[in-house]
Every structure is written in C-alpha cells, then in structure tokens.
C-alpha cells in the first residue's frame, strides 16, 4: 500500500506537468486552431531563462543581478509570452488560411532551431538549477514516504494555475469573449471586439504557461535543451486523450495519466513509458474526439 501511495504521488508530480503543458496546448488549439509543436521548446526556454537569470547574467552580460526563483516564476513566462507574440504576429499569422499541417511544420522548425541554439551553449545532458529557494529545500514526512517539499509546492502551485485558467476561460466575461471569438470571429469583430489582438494574447498566454512549467520543472529535473522534446510527445498524447480544445479535459487527463503512469510502475514497470500511448490508441479507436471533446 505504501508503495502504491508513493508512486501515485510521484505520478501526480509528473501529472501536473502534463496538465499545465497540455492546458497551454489546448488553449492555443481551442482558440486558434493551431497545433503548436513549439510548446516543448517554450517549456525548455522557461527553464533556461530561470537558469540564466540565476547564475549566468553576470558571467555573460556583466550585469551583477541575480533573478531568484520567485522572480523567475513571473519573469520567465512574460519573456516566453513576448516571444509567443513575435512568433504569432510575424510568422503564424501568415499561415492561418492554410491547412493545420503548415502551422505544425513551422512550429516544429522553431523547436529545432531553439533546441540547436541551446545545445550549442549548454550541456545536452542537463545543468542542475541551483536556485531552489531555501524555504522549499526540506523534506516532508507524509507517513508513507519522505517527499521533497519543493515537489509538493510544484504540485499545489500547478493545480492552482490550471484551475484558475479554466475558471477564467469558462466563467468570466473575458473568457466568454474569447470563446465567442472562436465560435464566430466575424460576428464577434462586428460587436467591436479586437479579435486579432485576442488571438495574439491567447497564443502568448499559452506560451507563457509552458514557460511557467519550465521554471517549475527546473529545480526537479536538470535544465537541458532536450527537456521539452522528451515531454512534448507525451503531452500531445494527453491532449488527444483529453480531447483537442477541451480545457478541463486537458487538465483532468494530464493529472489522470500521470497517476496511471505512476501506478503502472508499481504493477508492471516495463510498460510505464508506453501505457499513455496504449490508452491513446484505445481512445482514438473508440472515442476519436477524445474523452472530453465534442464530436464535430
């Protein structure tokens, strides 16, 4: 029983990262109809901004400034969000009239460029992030296991971010306007709302979420140019299972699949890395729109 609880908690730990990343993907897909393959690179970028801000500003730019972990939680998503604005305004915008596949290929290319760029300057196997706050460096005794305080923090923080995002989109005026923009852009524009601006900001928000996840992941996993590439395929599977464009679907399936992966490690460890894809195949066969998606 102890083992099951322990692996479940670790699974949840992985699950919150799936959730927050697939949420960003789902927001972008739901509102913009873009399959953003650069999402993993945005996540990686968030982690690197935290790392550079903490330990390399002085060495690289001669600025004697250290951006700590808490500040990075704000700074990194903003910078990644701005990059998102640039990508959307300068590149993606030109492709809206074309098939989905063009946006996918463009964002995949951006991913390869960003990965190559960082692999040129950083260790591919990962650089440890040294800036984990002192207050979170301890260990909590949960009875069934000792669990690092930081990981608990990451779980709680991510859950708050995920559900806040869901609430904003589903239950506020801003959210209802966004959804209106998706349903019928022309009509919404006729009501005087600036739809292109909403689209840009939504993309920036999705990218920012990935950047935030990157900062949260930095102290747990080493910061590496390939950290996003390792995760993005699983996250796409999560989105497919949850249902493309479903906000709550992305969050719940992210958490659930993390848990399932963790529990598989108890019962049949060799299957842990493939169980998500197995479920994806089943979902595609029997509910092609995903568990929470609507058939079109």
């Amino acid at each position: 029983m102890q083992v099951i609880l322990a692996q479940a908690l670790l699974g949840l730990n992985v699950g919150v990262f799936y959730a927050i990343l697939s949420l960003g993907l789902a927001v972008i897909f739901g509102l913009l109809n873009i399959i953003n393959f650069a999402h993993g690179a945005m996540y990686m970028l968030g982690a690197f901004i935290a790392l550079i801000g903490y330990s390399l500003l002085e060495q690289w730019f001669g600025i004697s400034l250290q951006v700590g972990f808490w500040a990075s939680l704000l700074v990194a998503p903003v910078i990644v969000g701005i990059l998102g604005v640039l990508i959307e305004r300068l590149l993606l915008k030109r492709l809206y009239d074309l098939d989905h596949i063009y946006g996918l290929l463009l964002t995949f290319g951006i991913t390869l460029i960003l990965q190559g760029l960082f692999a040129n300057y950083f260790n591919v196997s990962g650089t440890p992030y040294p800036g984990q706050p002192e207050a979170l460096s301890g260990v909590v005794n949960l009875g069934f296991m000792y669990f690092p305080t930081y990981r608990l923090f990451a779980i709680v923080f991510s859950l708050v971010v995920c559900f806040a995002t869901w609430w904003v989109i589903e239950h506020t005026k801003l959210g209802s306007r966004l959804r209106a923009g998706v349903e019928n852009p022309d009509l919404t524009q006729a009501f005087g709302l600036n739809v292109p601006l909403m689209v840009t900001l939504t993309f920036a928000f999705g990218a920012g979420l990935a950047g935030l996840a990157g900062v949260l992941a930095a102290p747990i996993y080493s910061v590496s140019p390939l950290m996003g590439a390792d995760l993005i395929i699983v996250v796409f599977a999560v989105v497919v299972i949850g249902g493309m464009g479903s906000i709550m679907g992305a969050i719940l399936s992210g958490l659930a699949l993390g848990l399932i992966e963790g529990l598989t490690k108890v019962f049949y460890p060799p299957a842990a890395s493939t169980v998500i894809f197995f479920l994806m195949v089943l979902v595609l066969l029997f509910r092609p729109a995903g568990l929470f998606g609507k058939e079109k």
Binding site: V3, A6, Y146, S222, M227, K265
Partner: protein, 405 residues
C-alpha cells in the same frame, strides 16, 4: 541503426582491402603520428572524459617532446554523442581521410564496441580508457583493441566484495539501459552471488535519466540491503542526489555506486556523497608524482583529473614510446611491442597489456571523505585497500577471448 552499422562494416572491410597499408618497417606512414580523441563532448560523460581527455592527450604529447623520430605528433578530437553510428562514422573518416594512427578515450561501451570492431578491420590500435564493458577484451576482443583503465569485472571485485562482507547480502539494481550497464549489473550480480548474497530485483533506466525517483522507490520497496547503481556519470550523480532527497539511505538501505568518478563526487558534494565506497584506478593525491601531474592538469582544465583522463595521458605516452622504440607506426609491430613492455608512469605501476587487450594493473577501493576530513576542494577520497591486478582482471586462463584460447 544496426543495419547501417553492418553495411558500414562491410564497406569498411572493402575499403580496407583496397588500401592495405604499404608502410615499410622503420618509417612512419604519412610522415607524422596522429592521435584521435573520440569522446562524449556534450552529454552525460562530458565532465569525466570529454574535453579533459583532449587536454590529457596534449600534455602527453608535449611531455614526449612534441615529436617522435623527428616527425610531428598531431591530435584530433570529436564528439561521438553517445551514438555508436556517429562514433563509427567519425572513426572511419579519421582513418580513411585523416590518417589517424591510434584512437583513444571512447567512453560509452556501445560506441567503443562499434569503433573497436571497425578499427580491427582497418588495423588501427584503439586504446580505450573510457568504456567499461568486458566484451571489449572478452567476446569481442580484437588484435588491436586495448582496454586501459578499468572494466566491469574490476569494479565489482572491489566494491561489491566490500559491501557483501559488511552485511549487504541482498541487492537491487538500477541499471543504465545499454551495453555497459547490463555488463556491469551482470558482473556485479555474479560477484554478489559468489559471496553468498542474492539479487532481488532490477530496473532498467534509459541513459541520461533526469528523474530517478520512481526507480528509487521501486528499489526501496524491494527491501534489498543494497541498491546497486549500475550506471555512470550524471546518471549516478542524479540517482544519489535524489536518493538523498527521498531519504533512502537514512531509511536504512545502502547505495553502491558501481562506477563513480572523482568529478561525480565533486559535483554531489561531500555532504551527500560521504561514506560512499567505490573502485577506481587512480587517486590524484595518492603520491607526489600523481599530485604533480594532476596539479598541472588542473591548471589547464579547471578540474582535477578523473581516472580515465589520467589514463589517456598514460595510454598516449606508452603508445608513443612503443612507436619510438620500434621505429614504425605499423599497428602489428607497435601492438606487439606494447604487449612486451612493462608500463610504469604516474598512472600505472607494473602494468602489463595482456594478449586479449586488457591492461592488467592494480585498482583501489576508496571511500568518500567526511566534510570534516577534507582539506581542500578536491581532497575527497580515502584509499581503503589495494586490489591486486590478478584479482581485479579476468585471468588469461578464464578469458573468453578467441585470440588467447
């Protein structure tokens, strides 16, 4: 990948037949000696071999005088990225187009096996300092392959024996999922069983895993006395750090790092690593001779040498000696000379290169110091005991190498 490798090998054999060396004894082909350092320059093994190995090779050449028989000695290096196909294609380019005479470093057993196989067909000596698998000198031994610093037989002889004798009877392995990890796990398991212990479980983790927590929990729930880490480099560091985060050692299980390098201990810090026992071929501050060389290395590299970096220096030096004494770079002649020599330098005392390519030398069981015992940044290890060469390495009577029996 395997088909490519096989096709490449066929191609390599064909090319080799066309370009049989025309070197006459008493001369150097292409009027120079060129040494290739093929290592992981960007991945998990970068800090234990990588750029430091290039510096060690440069130091060896400089200390040798920069030339042999009046001809220049050159060095070339590249990143094999831990990929056997990339390693083999780089080695092929070096040998065919760049006249490389000897290839060293070759950390990562999968890369090492593929390059050593290629070098056999090309009749080029490989002096492997970085890889661990005993297959290099056993099942896949070649007339030109030399395994210089350590192997997966020598490591558990020291570490596993010591741990089992101290009561660590049951073992659970976390294994790096490729040739090296499997070889190390199997050899360690054999040592444990031969001393009356048992192996209760194993889990394979991919190379360069960031998060070992779930593997560690599996190991914890197995209830084994010892968690054996059959991995290396950054993987070992991550596993030990995370075992500390999850209080695994404090809960009563022991960790056994089957392959630990000085740089790993340095990066973990003494607070986390103290008391860890492992087997090594080289301790930089063991005597005045090793200290003098290591300090010179540290000035250029910014870190003290690992055993494999020190091994590169020794391997290159002894290769150059053999070339000078025989007056040729013909691989058969040089290899025969290396087999006759007794190797004595700051790295090795009384070393012998056996017919299967294994360099037989003493190893050391060491323990990481407590923070209070350490006098300087790199003063990290206490030597507990010496493991004589005849115990550490597979004897010529037992070897499976077809060149011997």
């Amino acid at each position: 990948m395997f088909t490519n490798w096989k096709q490449g090998l066929v191609g390599a054999v064909a090319t080799a037949t066309l370009t049989l060396p025309l070197t006459a004894a008493g001369a150097l082909s292409d009027d120079k000696i060129k040494i290739g350092v093929l290592s992981d320059m960007s991945g998990v093994y970068k800090s234990l071999e990588g750029p430091g190995a290039v510096i060690a090779a440069q130091m060896a050449i400089e200390d040798f005088g920069g030339s042999v028989m009046g001809k220049p000695i050159e060095i070339i290096s590249a990143d094999h990225q831990n990929k056997p196909d990339i390693g083999a294609s780089t080695a092929r380019e070096w040998i065919d187009a760049k006249d490389v005479d000897m290839i060293t470093a070759l950390d990562n057993s999968s890369v090492a096996l593929s390059v050593q196989g290629l070098a056999k067909d090309k009749k080029i000596i490989t002096m492997n300092t970085g890889a661990g698998t005993t297959a290099l000198t056993e099942e896949q031994c070649t007339p030109y392959g030399i395994h210089y610093v350590y192997d997966t037989h020598a490591l558990p002889v020291g570490t596993a024996t010591a741990m089992v004798k101290n009561g660590g009877k049951s073992w659970f392995f976390i294994t790096a999922d490729y040739a090296f990890g499997h070889s190390l796990r199997d050899n360690t398991g054999a040592v444990v069983k031969s001393l009356g212990g048992e192996v209760v479980g194993n889990v394979n983790a991919p190379l360069s895993t960031n998060d070992f927590s779930s593997y560690l929990l599996q190991a914890q729930s197995s209830g084994a006395d010892v968690i054996g880490l059959a991995n290396a480099g950054q993987d070992t560091v991550n596993a030990i750090k995370q075992a500390n985060q999850f209080r695994i050692v404090q809960s009563g299980q022991k960790l056994a790092g089957m392959l630990v390098f000085l740089t790993d201990v340095h990066s973990m810090g003494l607070d986390i690593a103290q008391g860890l026992q492992f087997t090594t071929a080289f301790v930089w501050n063991q005597n005045e001779e090793t200290k003098a060389w290591s300090n010179r290395f540290n000035e250029r590299h910014g870190a003290m040498p690992t055993m494999v970096q020190a091994g590169v220096y020794s391997a290159v030096t002894n290769y150059l000696k053999a070339v000078e004494e025989t007056g040729t770079d013909d691989s058969d002649t040089v290899r025969a000379k290396l087999g006759e020599m007794t190797l004595n330098d700051m790295f090795v005392k009384g070393g012998k290169i056996a017919p299967n390519g294994s360099m037989l030398h003493d190893m050391y069981l060491v323990e990481v110091k407590k923070p209070s015992e350490s006098k300087s940044e790199w003063d990290l290890l206490n030597v507990i005991s010496k493991i004589p060469a005849d115990q550490a390495y597979i004897s010529m009577a037992d070897t499976k190498c077809s060149l011997v029996n």
